[in-house]
Structures are given as structure tokens and as C-alpha cells.
């Protein structure tokens, strides 16, 4: 079958879209014999080769791993293509629950990241959470340099907020590259603090001591992981305990709670059970599958 070709259609130049990474047409090769290949079919062939390799040593590999989903780690990292989350820590399929967004942000009002953290903490009960940034992050660079356009400005404002919190220290750094590197580290530390603000994380740590939260930075130029020093995180944490620490566990409305009295004092009426999932039944009325 004839393989598909790369299919970005460029009919006319596009002057109004500014690309601050001037590399749209740049191709790079990682090794001498590895050419950048935009063919989707090659990726699917790579998948077949991986399956053959894993089942050669153990035919039950996928079946046995598919039965359990109990990862030990939650990884919140940058979307950057150069950061291989599982490879760089020597982890296999099944070890790492992953959320990736631009500049590894953890936002209180973000349902996307919030649902991942809640699921990982409450249901999967992960033992460790990694917030992983990397030097050379385009998002951090954009927040410092760009005039702002389009959708990204709203998201990059989060990084600018981190800059504001540490403006005194950052403004004193004369070298631009050193300033960017320091902002990457401070951004990771700030996201770790944001994690501690999450009530589910606080409650779980209070009850069980887990998950333990770690800040990491990947130096892509060397491939090594750098741990964020704990002082960067614990100082703001202890200073603002009276602001962010919850005294009660998070109130997740549980449909299976016994109905008693509402917060206004009036007794809650039990409505007749309706068909469907409103009363906790499954959508198709079937029993829960495994």
C-alpha cells in the first residue's frame, strides 16, 4: 500500500501568524541513520515491532498488564516533544499516570488538570507526584518575550504570574539564558505549591502521608533530571499555611450518602427512583463491568 505523504497544505505565505520559533521548515535528524519521517504508517509499524518485542519475552505481557491499572506515579509535565516521560525514568507501560500541558501548569480552576489530580489521588492512590519542567521550555520563553497573541496569551499569563512572584530575584540576573533557566525552576516550584493547595492532595497527605510531591527539571542538553531543592517549595508553603490549608476534608457530594437534613435544616425528600444514571444506576442498566 502506498504510504501517505505529509499533508500540510501551504497555499500562500501566512504573514500575520507570528512564529517566534523560526523553525517551521526545519528538519533535524537525531542520528545519522534516522531520518525524520512524517509517515504515519511508519509509526504504526513501530507499534507492531514493539508488540512483537514485548510478547517475544512474555506472551502474556499485555494481557497481564491490562488487567490492573495501578500506577505508582502521577507525572505532570510539559507537552514538549523532547521530554520522554517514561523513558527518562526507566519506567514501563503501567507505571506512570500522565498529564501534559504547556509549561506544566497546575491551575486551580482547570477541570482538565484538576480531574487528573483528583482521579490519581482519590481513586488510583498514587504514591508520588512529579511536576517536571525542562530547560529550554518554549512556553517560559514565550511568557518573557512575546507581545502576546491569540489563545496562548491567556495560558502564558500563568507563567508571567510566576515571574511576578519572583520578580526581585529574576530581575537581578543579567544573563538571559540564566534567567530563563531560573524561571523554569521557579515555575516548577510554584506548581508544586499549587499542588499542595489542592484539597484532595492535602486530605490524602493528612490521612496516609501520600502522595509525596516532587519537583523535577529535565536538562535536555544532558538528559539528566535535576531535583528542585525543597527550600524553594517549603518556604512559601509554611508561610501561607493559614491561607491555603484546609481544616476539613474536601466535600465531594456522594450520591450514596444517606439522606438526612439539608444545610438549611429542612429534611431532604427522597425522590422516586428514575431510570438512568441520576440515581447512581449505570447508563445501560447493566451491572458494573470489572
Amino acid at each position: 500500500m502506498e504510504p501517505r505523504r505529509a499533508s500540510v497544505v501551504r497555499v500562500a505565505p501566512i504573514p500575520m501568524v507570528q512564529s517566534y520559533e523560526a523553525h517551521s521548515n526545519m528538519k533535524y535528524s537525531v542520528g545519522e541513520d534516522e531520518l525524520l519521517d512524517e509517515d504515519i504508517a511508519r509509526i504504526l509499524e513501530g507499534n507492531q515491532r514493539w508488540v512483537e518485542e514485548m510478547t517475544a519475552g512474555d506472551p502474556e505481557y499485555f494481557i497481564s498488564r491490562s488487567l490492573i491499572h495501578k500506577p505508582k506515579y502521577l507525572y505532570i509535565g510539559c507537552s514538549d516533544a523532547r521530554v520522554p516521560a517514561d523513558l527518562m525514568m526507566g519506567l514501563q507501560s503501567g507505571d506512570l499516570f500522565v498529564h501534559r500541558n504547556i509549561a506544566n501548569q497546575i491551575v486551580s480552576t482547570d477541570c482538565n488538570c484538576g480531574s487528573v489530580i483528583e482521579y490519581a489521588t482519590n481513586h488510583l492512590k498514587v504514591k508520588h507526584i512529579f511536576v517536571c519542567g525542562h530547560y529550554g521550555c518554549g512556553g517560559i520563553k514565550y511568557a518573557l518575550e512575546s507581545d502576546g497573541w491569540g489563545m496562548n496569551d491567556h495560558w502564558m499569563r500563568l507563567v508571567r504570574n510566576v515571574y511576578r512572584l519572583h520578580a526581585q530575584e529574576l530581575d537581578e540576573i543579567p544573563d538571559k539564558q540564566a534567567k530563563l533557566r531560573r524561571l523554569v525552576e521557579l515555575n516548577v516550584a510554584e506548581q508544586v505549591v499549587n499542588l499542595y493547595k489542592n484539597p484532595h492532595v492535602q486530605h490524602s497527605v493528612k490521612l496516609t502521608g501520600f502522595p509525596k510531591v516532587h519537583g523535577l527539571v529535565l536538562d535536555i542538553a544532558t538528559g539528566l533530571l535535576v531535583t528542585i531543592p525543597i527550600e524553594l517549595v517549603t518556604d512559601p508553603l509554611h508561610r501561607y499555611d493559614h491561607v491555603y490549608l484546609f481544616s476539613k476534608p474536601p466535600t465531594v457530594s456522594n450520591p450514596h450518602h444517606k439522606l438526612g437534613v439539608s444545610e438549611h435544616g429542612s429534611p431532604l425528600k427522597r425522590r422516586p427512583a428514575t431510570q438512568g444514571f441520576a440515581e447512581g444506576q449505570s447508563l445501560d442498566g447493566a451491572e458494573k463491568v470489572g
Binding site: I40, Y73, I102, D284
Partner: protein, 307 residues
């Protein structure tokens, strides 16, 4: 003695056989050189060795951490069925990975640290069983990644909108891949309401609509697991459809420079990735895709047939 063996019994399903058999990993493949270090990693069922987790031998690391499901010397605790390495081990693994990469190509990381130009944007599920770089044989630097629960694309979610904006407008990716998988916890919780009352329930709520719109087809499937798997596939198709409606993609369609869209599903039970057929003609007729998409992105059949 019998009591002690029972206490040491492995509760994980990582190896077949009688459940009372001690957790002994499968013997190393014959290609590995026989060395004294390899023999010392042999797990001996006993009180002391049960608590010790030794790192894998260097020959395994050189092969890129590929091996059997049960790691050498891994202890399968009841609350850790996968036998994942300890946290302290992860940084050591990182050093080993760097060394193994540098031994094959000393310039590897220097080249990797150049500004990224990935041809693919991958939107996948947070599920830990989708180990991206290994699963697709894709080296670092190829895939710009966004992962969330049940690989949702929501037009009101700033996270994914910013990823799309950066990928489509700045990086100019050639392909956007939305990849789901069978046995998805997010799909399951949307149907069975296990996480009702939480943020996760709000997040996976759109899957309920996918269910009700395809109820006839889904209820016709007798096996419940197969029904959930089919719903995972329909969820992927819906998310690709949502992609077409985001502002970044619509702007890209307008200026006639847009990436090709793909919907994939990972069969967790076999590890194979399948490409789903998108209803491109319908979407063009309904106005979600431009007409030029039919001309430049042929859709007749998946790129490679996967058995």
C-alpha cells in the same frame, strides 16, 4: 514453613501459574550474557530477599529497559501490583538512560536540545498503560503531547486550546492524532457513575452524550466489555470531531494550511494501535471540514492494516 510461604505469596497477576508459586521472574532471555551480576539477581524465595528490590542488570538497561513484565528482583507487594521501581531508583534509572544514550551517540542530547519541530501532535489518555515513546517506537522529539482523562477535546478548556494553538499555529504540526484505548477508566466512570460528584464526573460528562447518541448500536453488542470498548472508539471519533470545531483548527481551515487528523485506538489487551476510519465525507458535507480536506487527505482506508 508453610505459613511463611503463604505470606510471601505474590498477589499480583504478573505471572501465570499457581497462585501459591513464589514470585520468581521468568528466566532472562538467552541473548543476555551470563555474568556473575546476572546470577546474583536471581530472586530466592525467602524472608530477606522478599524485601529487597535490586536494579535490573546492565544488559537490560542497554537494551532500553525492555524486558519481561516482571522486573528482575522486583517484589510484587499487594498495593503495588506492577512492581514499579522505587522513587529513589528513578533518578538512578535516569543516569543509566543518559549513559546508555551517550554510549551510542555522544551528540544525542545536544541535537535533542535544539528547538523542537515535531511533526505530530498527540492527544491521548492519561492512562499509565499508554507508554508513548515505547508504544509507538517514537524517539523523543517527534510528538508534541497532551494527555488528559479519556482524551477529551473540549472547546472551553484552556489547557487543550493553548496546546492546539501552539501546535497548529507555531509548530505547524503535520498530523494531529487523538488516541484512546480499550478499558478506559474515564469511559467506564461516565457510564457507571463511579466518580459521580467529583471533578472527574464533570470532565467525562460528554461521553454520556456519545453513549446516548449511539445507544442503538451499543446496546446491540451483547458483551459488556466489548460495548465499553466500542464506546471508547466512538469517544475518539467524537473528540476528533470536536477538534474540527476549535478556533485554532477553524482558523487553520480558513487559511488553507491545516494538519491531517487521525483517530487511533490502543487495544490494551494486545498492545496494538489501530487507526479508526473517520467519517470525513459526512463532516465535509456538514461543514466541519473544508472541501480541500478530501482532496489532500485521502481517507479511504487506514495507512497500515493491523491484524
Amino acid at each position: 514453613m508453610a505459613l511463611r510461604l503463604k505470606w510471601l505469596r505474590c498477589f499480583c497477576s504478573c505471572h501465570p501459574g499457581h497462585p501459591s508459586a513464589p514470585c520468581v521472574p521468568s528466566p532472562p532471555p538467552p541473548s543476555m550474557p551470563a555474568s556473575s551480576s546476572a546470577s546474583s539477581l536471581e530472586v530466592r524465595p525467602g524472608l530477606l530477599s522478599a524485601r529487597i528490590q535490586r536494579p535490573p542488570p546492565r544488559s537490560v538497561l542497554a537494551r532500553g529497559f525492555r524486558g519481561s513484565a516482571v522486573r528482575h528482583g522486583a517484589v510484587c507487594e499487594p498495593d503495588d501490583p506492577m512492581g514499579a521501581p522505587d522513587y529513589a531508583q528513578l533518578l538512578r534509572n535516569n543516569r543509566e538512560w543518559v549513559q546508555s544514550r551517550n554510549s551510542t551517540d555522544p551528540e544525542y542530547f545536544r541535537k535533542l536540545s535544539q528547538p523542537q519541530s515535531p511533526p505530530y501532535l498527540y492527544i491521548g489518555c492519561s492512562d499509565s498503560r499508554m507508554a508513548l515513546n515505547q508504544m509507538l517506537g517514537c524517539k523523543p522529539g517527534y510528538m508534541f503531547v497532551h494527555r488528559n482523562i479519556a482524551n477529551q477535546v473540549s472547546v472551553t478548556d484552556m489547557g487543550i486550546l493553548s496546546v492546539l494553538s501552539y501546535a497548529v499555529d507555531s509548530l505547524r504540526v503535520s498530523h494531529i492524532i487523538v488516541c484512546g484505548h480499550y478499558d478506559c477508566g474515564g469511559v467506564k466512570s461516565a457510564i457507571y457513575g463511579e466518580t459521580d460528584g467529583s471533578l472527574v464526573a464533570n470532565w467525562v460528562n460528554p461521553i454520556k452524550r456519545v453513549y446516548t447518541e449511539n445507544k442503538q448500536e451499543l446496546l446491540a453488542i451483547p458483551d459488556k466489555k466489548a460495548r465499553l470498548d466500542r464506546l471508547s472508539e466512538l469517544n475518539v471519533l467524537q473528540q476528533v470531531h470536536n477538534l474540527c470545531q476549535t478556533s485554532s483548527m477553524r482558523a487553520a481551515f480558513r487559511r488553507n494550511a491545516y494538519p491531517e487528523l487521525h483517530g487511533w485506538i490502543l487495544d490494551i489487551y494486545t498492545g496494538l494501535v489501530k487507526e479508526l476510519e473517520l467519517p470525513i465525507k459526512n463532516w465535509v458535507e456538514q461543514g466541519y471540514l473544508p472541501e480541500s480536506y478530501l482532496r489532500y487527505c485521502p481517507t479511504s482506508s487506514p495507512a497500515s492494516s493491523v491484524s
